[in-house]
């Protein structure tokens, strides 16, 4: 079995990003920036109806508009649309402004149909049917032990209905591609987490051989789980390119990004937990209804479209009954979103854990330590509690004096983070320069730099001496960047390729150790031919299974309902840490996305019209720099476990920890996310509950 060197020289040391200069000077070219010769603007017309029968889509006028080179349909001319924002047609023209004019000139004949865009409405027996079957699916059930008897015998029981909203990904670069189709060959610059899965999707959509397609993603502006396929928009860009005989760029607008590009499903979790008098969990019943929009009837690439969540989370209940229902609505399809199913589960479970601890008269941290049998999280809780000052900061709920109340809370998470299957190639040139190639992609995680670090470790060089080529299907295969699998999948492949190249170099030149100081002299001995070697993922260099815990301290103004997060301590493990600098960024980023989920983010659909109400960042709020608390990141280095991914674990615990801190501050629990000032004031009885729109 392969093994990492011990100690490592380059891995584990902070390294700035290879692509930092390109990003700070604006020279990095994203899919959205690529402008091949003769390129055209493409734009999509979306349904303005949440449900309708379309009988005619007339493109004639649009086709005759100035600058318009092509107009195509997204589906048939006669069809049923099922959500506001469903793609109907697309145009390509020389300028954006001409596209806007042409889109307006498309004439559509449609008969609106009844629709439903709220979970509670969709679950009613007389609700309009979203698809052919019933709106509420049959449950998936997990049942073990004797729940009723165990619950009846429990010393303490608590019960609640916890709700989480639909969260939108809103990566700053929207979904989209620039596509050039010519003579049955296709080149696509796509903003994607998986160049190979996009290639395969284009092959399917265009009925073309995979070998005639190249997908490139040199830089991309964030994905968070929603960017694995070519998408309807990619297919339209390809069709427009074919029809116009020119490259076409179709990037979604910010509005479209909120409608059709994926989202995290909502949840309504009816939870009941029971514990014995010593504080050991004995029974759980959970009934969850979550909505992936129309996903039940339209598969999304990359998976994760289902609304099942992991509640009850982390803890072992000997007696358990869980029922999960998917609820169809006339809203855009869900897709994977950073740790699918986990953040809502952590929020629901950890909220009820704190309630139960209060009932038992126990410190919530001690209650967790008693019931969480994961050894890494045990360590993380202890380390984090000390850093955070839990022992002195934790007070009984509602005991903080004055109008601005302070509270603390904690919560945990767990994730796989393993990966395999990547391949790579390392080329050593006679002048000592090195190029490493791998068909992975860098979403902003730092994977480009990770490739260089691993190669530098192998050759005894510095990361900036390695030239890295990623983000292209012409490179050795690597899978999609999802499930926090990239680091664990790519690092071993790079290491293996470099080891094979190094062995060949030493054999060809007769130098027993070519690394470090000997490097350039040895490479010179290659003569005129560069040397290259392939490698692939090997057992023993990566692992899986990462835990994480957060401690949160908040201040709640009971007169305004305003919540300020003062501090987050985030403790995580990810095996062998390849680059602490970018790992810290990943964790901060997860915490900030979790803060948005806890306090600000919620997709709001209008019950009356079925349209999205919060269409941009003025009304769909994500955390900004002023909301950013002091985040203290603690990494537990466990090199013997190999490389493990960290992107997803980081986003899981914040909402639960923050919700618990708010409840601890004000002495009342808010059962739904986001925890807005209006909900705080309503929970304190100062204003009536706000009706939902």
């Amino acid at each position: 079995m392969a093994a990492w060197p011990n100690p490592t020289q380059v891995m584990g040391k902070p390294a700035t990003r290879l692509d930092g200069p390109a990003k700070v000077t604006g020279s990095a070219k994203y899919s959205y920036d690529v402008q091949p010769d003769g390129w055209l603007f493409g734009m999509i017309l979306c349904s303005k109806w949440p449900a309708a029968t379309i009988t005619k889509i007339d493109l004639t006028k649009a086709q005759g508009m100035p600058g318009v080179k092509a107009a195509v349909l997204a589906g048939g001319e006669q069809r049923t649309v099922r959500f506001y924002g469903q793609e109907l047609a697309a145009v390509a023209a020389t300028t954006k402004q001409q596209c806007l004019d042409a889109i307006r000139a498309i004439e559509i004949t449609a008969t609106p149909l009844p629709f439903v865009v709220k979970e509670d409405d969709a679950m009613k027996p007389d609700a309009p049917l979203v698809a052919d079957g019933p709106n509420v699916s049959d449950p998936s059930v997990k049942a073990e032990g004797q729940v009723d008897a165990a619950m009846a015998a429990a010393a303490a029981v608590c019960e609640g209905e916890l709700r989480t909203p639909v969260q939108l990904h809103h990566a700053l670069e929207t979904h989209g591609s620039t596509v050039s189709y010519k003579d049955n060959h296709l080149t696509a610059w796509t903003s994607t987490q998986g160049v190979f899965s996009v290639r395969d999707a284009f092959a399917g959509a265009m009925q073309m051989p995979q070998s005639n397609i190249e997908v490139i993603c040199d830089y991309m502006g964030g994905g968070f789980g929603a960017k694995f396929g070519a998408g309807v928009h990619g297919g339209l860009a390809a069709k427009l390119s074919q029809a116009a005989g020119a490259p076409v760029k179709v990037m979604l607008t910010r509005l479209q990004e909120g409608l059709s590009a994926g989202n995290r499903p909502s949840s309504i979790q009816k939870i009941k937990f029971g514990a014995d008098k010593d504080g050991k969990l004995v029974a759980a019943t959970v009934e969850n209804h979550g909505s992936p929009g129309i996903s039940g009837s339209r598969k999304t690439a990359g998976g994760g479209g289902g609304a099942n969540i992991a509640t009850p989370y982390l803890y072992h209940f000997p007696n358990i009954n869980v029922q999960q229902y998917g609820v169809l609505m006339n809203t855009g399809p869900a897709s994977a979103f950073r740790a699918p199913g986990h953040p809502p589960a952590s929020f629901g479970t950890e909220s009820m854990m704190d309630e139960l601890a209060v009932k038992l008269g126990m410190d919530p941290l001690q209650f967790r330590l008693l019931n969480d049998d994961n050894p890494v999280r045990q360590r993380e809780y202890k380390e984090g509690a000390e850093r955070f000052g839990w022992a002195t900061k934790y007070q009984k709920p509602g005991s903080s004096p004055g109008p601005v109340k302070t509270g603390v809370g904690c919560a945990g998470g767990g994730w796989g983070g393993g990966g395999k299957g990547s391949e790579a190639e390392a080329q050593i040139n006679p002048d000592g320069t090195v190029e490493v190639r791998c068909g992975t992609q860098d979403l902003g995680t730092g994977s480009r730099t990770l490739v260089a670090i691993v190669a530098a470790e192998a050759f005894g060089l510095k990361p900036e001496q390695i030239k890295v080529k990623i983000g292209d299907t012409n490179l050795p295969f690597s899978g999609g960047s999802g499930g926090s699998s990239t680091s664990a999948s790519v690092s071993p492949a790079i290491w293996d390729a470099c080891q094979n190249a190094l062995a060949a170099l030493q054999q060809q030149t007769g130098v027993p150790d070519a690394r470090g100081a000997n490097w350039f002299d040895t490479c010179k001995k290659l003569g005129i031919n560069p040397l290259s070697a392939r490698g692939k993922w090997q057992e023993g260099l990566s692992g899986s299974g990462a835990g994480g815990v957060n401690f949160a301290e908040v201040e709640v103004d009971t007169e305004t309902g305003f919540i300020r997060i003062k501090k987050i301590v985030a403790v995580h493990d990810c095996g062998l840490i390849v680059n602490p600098l970018t790992t810290r960024s990943q964790i901060n980023g997860g915490v900030l996305c979790g803060i948005g989920y806890a306090l600000y983010e919620e997709r709001i659909m209008d019950r009356q019209t079925g349209v999205l109400l919060n269409t941009s960042f003025d009304s769909y709020k994500i955390a900004n720099i002023a909301d950013c608390p002091d985040i203290d990141v603690i990494l537990i280095d466990l090199p013997e476990r190999g490389v493990i991914g960290i992107g997803e674990p980081a986003v899981i615990p914040p909402a639960g920890a923050i919700a618990n801190a708010v409840a601890n501050a004000i002495g009342v629990r808010i059962h739904s996310l986001p925890i807005t000032p209006a909900k705080v004031l309503a929970a304190l009885g100062k204003v009536p509950n706000m009706p939902s729109v």
Partner: protein, 220 residues
């Protein structure tokens, strides 16, 4: 760069202020009409109605004068990205909610999606491409790299410009100053703690590390 000059022709300058009262007050106060019209014309002669077709537009971008034929409805953002083309300036929302499209106009931070290209004439426009001179990164750019204040990098041009504009006015900002100055720019990857560090570092101030690596065996 002239940091303190007003940003644009559509900011509340003398001419637009006078024009503003011109439409309502002038109609009733007829005695004033002549004097008011004189004042308006003295402030600056109003251009003739332009468009809807393309009109000549001349912009000074990163010190270089460039001539375009643009429909008057074309924003400065689109003029930069699609007619120049300088793609470092990003479009994220196209409606003044994110700051990704930020540029400096006469040194002042401005959302280029909210400004028509024709209104940017006669001003110095600096985009992200115009900061580094002869490949030499500015201290702000270097600090962004050193502090890892960029992840996917899509918000980065706007963030770098927001920080640059801040330091031009306030060479030793506090953490709160940075928070205020950069709160009109959104980052979905979550680089904010590092942007705070980068702004402090670029202004020569100490940066507190907020990461601890606990090596094997050091936790019971």
């Amino acid at each position: 760069m002239k940091p303190k000059t007003p940003a644009s022709a559509s900011a509340l300058d003398r001419r637009s202020f006078l024009k503003g009262i011109g439409t309502s007050a002038v109609a009733v106060a007829s005695v004033q009409v002549g004097a008011m019209a004189d004042e308006i014309n003295k402030a600056a002669p109003a251009p003739a109605l332009q468009g809807p077709g393309a009109v000549p537009v001349s912009l000074t971008i990163n010190g270089e004068k460039k001539d375009f034929q643009l429909e008057p409805r074309v924003t400065l953002l689109d003029a930069l990205r699609y007619f120049s083309p300088l793609t470092g300036t990003k479009e994220v929302c196209d409606r003044a909610t994110c700051g990704a499209c930020s540029v400096l106009i006469d040194g002042k931070l401005t959302y280029s999606c909210m400004k028509l290209a024709i209104d940017a004439q006669g001003h110095e426009i600096t985009t992200i491409e115009g900061l580094a001179k002869d490949g030499q990164l500015t201290p702000v750019q270097q600090a962004f790299i050193d502090c890892d204040a960029l992840m996917c990098g899509f918000c980065t041009p706007g963030m770098v410009l927001a920080t640059t504009a801040l330091l031009a006015e306030n060479p030793k900002p506090t953490v709160d100053d940075v928070k205020r100055a950069c709160s009109g720019n959104l980052c979905r990857c979550g680089t904010y703690p590092h942007i705070l560090n980068a702004a402090l570092k670029a202004s020569g101030q100490a940066v507190t590390e907020t990461v601890t690596v606990i090596h094997h065996g050091s936790v019971a």
